[in-house]
């Protein structure tokens, strides 16, 4: 006889009831607020902790926690202890990101909102933070619109724009490798603007686009695109895909032996995918937005040691983004001597980061009228290992942000302030 539908002790009714209770608990949770220190300054972090961008989100969180510990050791923000409230925005669900942003602002009454790794989610969250008038720092969402056509007075961005990254690397590629470029681009906001930026920067130097493919986000097999790329006979194949997509694409390109026929490069690279690649696939010319191995630059070594002690690994650019974001909140409050968003936003216009936070060779500041952090860009080549097992990038040139960023008018940002 086939198994009877029996479960000792549990009948259908009790299962359905417990299911309903669980569901109700989920829906009710925004209203169940844990007791918090009444006078703490709260910073809300709405970033991916699961999904494709989980690693990036985790490293930004590490940087945030490092900064928070330092701030509280120095007496907090405006004399009050600072607290971080962390929510998982997921890696791609704008609905969840917006819901969590509202929960942080309305429920937890945060004074600052931070997020998101995903450019599209950043834009969605920026609508909410602007509607509610909360100071919003975007640590690592790159699409130009955030401080461009969709800029807001209350939204500040730490990482570079896609155009800045393109401008930084284009010169090196055209000079060293040739004029024919094939693009492998992720099919969403970030990819489109990055490719547009690259095409513009390359064209200005006499290069041309011989072909390209828009790949769905989360593609696992890039062989078809690589076959097409090779058939187009370019000098350089430009990989604009990020995260796991970058990892798969590069791994497969190296397995095909493409690097002996064509130069592999891209506009944005991070430690996270490089660490996930087998050593023979750590090749190509890229731009990094911050790198841990900066000999001779003050304060960097201490920061790297502190992060290593806290997390057991070297900081990545994402760690630095999170670190800068939290310290920006503290400095904004201290400069404005208030937690009112408009006052803090005004205080951040043309604000220069102190060198122990800038952690780079050039001045780092928020450009007035755009709220974009102008930082340095590190152009170089990936390597299997360098001076240390996690020295995976050989910096050839540090481009100052001021040189890579175009004039303010080109950004398309028309900022309006509340009256």
């Amino acid at each position: 006889m086939t198994e009877a539908n029996s479960r000792a002790g549990m009948d259908r009714r009790s299962i359905i009831t417990s299911g309903l209770v669980l569901a109700a608990a989920q829906i009710a949770s925004p209203f169940v607020i844990r007791a918090r220190a009444a006078d703490a300054v709260r910073i809300g972090l709405d970033n991916p902790l699961t999904g494709t961008y989980a690693a990036n989100g985790k490293h930004e969180l590490d940087g945030c926690q490092m900064a928070l510990a330092e701030i509280n050791a120095k007496g907090g923000i405006l004399g009050r202890p600072a607290e971080l409230v962390v929510e998982d925005s997921t890696s791609g669900d704008a609905g969840v990101a917006v819901q969590k942003a509202r929960k942080l602002i309305d429920g937890d009454k945060v004074d600052f909102l931070l997020g998101n790794v995903n450019s599209a989610l950043s834009l969605a969250m920026a609508q909410v933070s602007n509607e509610k008038g909360v100071l919003h720092i975007v640590p690592g969402g790159h699409t130009d619109a955030i401080t461009g056509s969709s800029c807001h007075w209350n939204v500040f961005r730490v990482c570079n724009t896609t155009q800045m990254e393109a401008n930084a690397v284009a010169g090196a590629l055209v000079k060293e490798y040739g004029k024919k470029f094939y693009y492998i681009t992720p099919d969403y906001a970030f990819g489109h603007t990055l490719e547009a930026g690259m095409i513009k920067a390359i064209a200005a130097l006499g290069g041309e686009r011989v072909g390209g493919d828009l790949t769905p986000l989360g593609s696992v097999d890039f062989s078809s695109y690589l076959i097409k790329a090779q058939a187009a006979n370019p000098d350089v194949i430009v990989f604009l895909v990020q995260g796991d997509d970058m990892l798969n694409a590069l791994k497969q390109a190296v397995q095909f032996g493409l690097q002996s026929k064509v130069h592999l490069a891209g506009a944005q690279q991070e430690m996270e995918p490089l660490e996930g690649l087998p050593p023979e696939a750590r090749i190509g010319t890229w731009v990094m937005e911050w790198y841990w191995n900066q000999p001779g630059v003050p304060h960097v070594a201490e920061f790297v040691e502190a992060i290593k002690k806290r997390t057991g690994r070297v900081p990545t650019a994402r760690t630095w983004f999170g670190y800068v974001s939290i310290w920006t909140c503290a400095h904004a409050a201290e400069s404005a001597k208030s937690l009112k968003a408009v006052d803090m936003a005004k205080a951040l216009q043309d604000f220069h980061l102190p060198s122990e936070i800038a952690l780079g060779p050039n001045p780092v500041f928020y450009r007035a009228g755009q709220n974009q952090l102008i930082a340095s860009l590190f152009v170089g080549d990936a390597q299997a290992s360098g001076s240390a097992p996690d020295d995976l990038f050989k910096v050839a040139k540090v481009v100052s942000g001021a040189d890579a960023a175009g004039p303010l008018e080109e950004s398309g940002c028309k900022m309006t302030w509340p009256t």
């Binding site: 006889m1 198994e3 494709t52 690693a55 985790k58 097999d221 078809s224 798969n248």
Partner: protein, 289 residues
């Protein structure tokens, strides 16, 4: 242009063979036990991560043998404890359970091994290209085909020439009668589940060499497996095999002409099959009552 098309068809067959391996394990479990195993991707990821952990101790070949076995062992435990109580009931319960398990697996792998992608090291001689003309035929892809052919061959041989296989095939037709004839149906379902999960673990080890090793690897690969089963036909293992190859080739061709649709094309195929031949190409009518 024809060269690009031919390359992509050939490459699509290679990728399709891999999808077929995943889908076969899923199909085995579905046919006999009626359980829609959404956690199949989670087992795949687990197989990949276990292989990653074992490589420093037993090397790549040892991990290739051991990791699927360990994954299958875990599958047996889960079958006994969680899935057995749901047999004979609404297939929806099995689906809900395995759906939840999929999330649990993803978070557990993230918790144990980190959210970071991990470098999966293959033996060097496997990762080089075999010919300059057909540069996309790497040693690893040929190796994958060999493993898939061997696994599928072994599966079909076991199903057709061993007593266990005969009982499984009989069980998919009429489990009540098989039970009446004195076969221990509980053990049969457990072993069948174990074989299915072994295939998932094996697919995981192969996937880790081809793709990056991250907690979301299972979630990315589970959907093509379901589509392969639907296209090839519920209830037919040969259909699942053909379904996997077809969607691999379809994806490859889409990448040539219409890259944004490489994922969409397999769902379009599924939609067409459901519209015009709901039981799939080689499937049986009324498989899920």
């Amino acid at each position: 242009m024809t060269q690009v098309v031919l390359f992509n068809v050939f490459n699509g067959l290679i990728v399709g063979a891999f999808y077929a391996l995943m889908a076969l394990g899923l199909s085995l479990i579905l046919n006999l036990s009626g359980v829609i195993n959404f956690a199949h991707g989670g087992f795949l990821a687990l197989g990949a991560y276990l292989a990653y952990t074992l490589i420093p101790y037993v090397g790549f070949w040892g991990a290739l043998i051991a990791a699927p076995l360990l994954t299958a062992a875990l599958g047996l435990v889960i079958e006994r404890v969680l899935i057995r109580p749901l047999y004979g009931g609404d297939p929806l319960y099995g689906l809900l359970l395995t759906f939840g398990l999929a999330y649990i697996f993803e978070d557990v792998t993230r918790f144990i091994w980190g959210a970071q992608s991990l470098p999966f090291q293959l033996p060097a001689w496997l990762t080089t290209s075999l010919s300059s003309q057909f540069f996309f035929v790497t040693g690893y892809r040929v190796f994958m085909i060999v493993v898939v052919v061997a696994a599928v061959g072994a599966l079909f041989a076991a199903l057709n020439y061993t007593r266990l296989g005969m009982r499984i095939r009989a069980g998919t037709r009429d489990l009540d009668t098989v039970s009446t004839l004195g076969v221990n149906v509980r053990v049969l379902r457990s072993l069948n589940f174990g074989i299915g999960i072994y295939m998932a673990g094996l697919a995981g080890v192969l996937a880790a060499g081809l793709l990056g090793l991250s907690p979301t690897i299972g979630a990315n690969l589970i959907m093509p497996s379901f589509v392969a089963i639907i296209v090839g036909g519920l209830g037919s293992l040969l259909g699942t095999l053909i379904g996997g190859l077809m969607i691999g080739v379809a994806s490859g061709l889409a990448a040539v002409y219409f890259p944004s649709a490489t994922e969409a094309v397999i769902y379009v195929m599924m939609g067409l099959v459901l519209l015009f031949r709901p039981r799939g190409l080689l499937g049986e009518e009324g498989r899920l009552h």
